[in-house]
Amino acid sequence: MDKGRVGDETRVPIGSDVDILTARQRGRALASELGFPNSSLVLIATAISELARNIVLYAKRGEIVLGRIERDGHQGIQVTARDEGPGIPDVGLAMQSGYSTSGSLGLGLPGVRRLMDEFEIVSGAGKGTTVMAKKWKR
C-alpha cells in the first residue's frame, strides 16, 4: 500500500461513548474541509464511528488519528484507529463478514473496509490493534 503524504493530524483520545461521537464529528469536519461530497462524509463518519466503537468495546481506550493525505494530485483522508488492547489473535477470521466476538455489536471491520477505499490492519494477541483506512476524493 502506498504511504501517501501525511499532513497535520488530529488526535482524538477514545475512552467512552461520548468520544465516539467526538471522533466522528471531527472526521466529518475534516473531510468536509477537504471537499468530500455529502455522501462520502456519511460513509467516513460511519467508518470512524465503528472503529472508535471497537476501541471502546475491546480495548477500553485508544485513539483515533485523522489526517489529510495526498497522492498523485489526489486528496484524501486517513483514519487511524490505535489501541493497546488485547489485540485480535486471528485477523483473517476477524475480516470475514459476520464475524464478531461480542455478539451483535460491532459488525465491524469488513463493513468498515467496504465504507472506505483502502484498509490495512495490524494486530495480534497481546499486541494491540492498529487499523488504517483511507478515502480518496474523486
Binding site: D17, I20, L41, V42, L43, R53, S104, L115
Partner: protein, 127 residues
Amino acid sequence: MEVPILKQGPYLIASVQSALTDADLLQLRDGLVEKVGRFRSRGVIVDVTALDVMDSFASRMLRDIAHMIRLRGAETVIVGFQPEVAFAMVQLGLTLEGVATALDLEEGLAFLDQKIKGNERGQGPRG
C-alpha cells in the same frame, strides 16, 4: 442530547434532533418503553431525519426499541432514513430486519393508522 418524546393522540413521536451518544439512545429506548404504558399508546414513530450516522449500536437500539414496543402491545415505525445513511447502513450489513420503516413522518402516521385499524378488525366485532 435527550430526544423529546411527544404524545400525539394514540401515538408517541420521538424526533431525533442531533447526533446521539450511546447513553442518549439507551435513554430514548427506556423512555419510549415506559411512556407507551403510561399513555396507553398504540404506536410509536422514531424520526431519524436529522441523523447523519447510523452505526451498529444505533441500529441495534432502533431494533430493540421496535421489538420491546411490540412486546408492550404497540407498533413502531422508523422514519426519515436519508439516502446516504441507508447506503452506509447496507454497506455495514445493518438491514433492520423485522423493523417497519417509512419515508417520512406523514407516511409513518399513515402506516400506523392502517396497522392499528387492521389489528382492531382482527380482534372481532366492534361498536
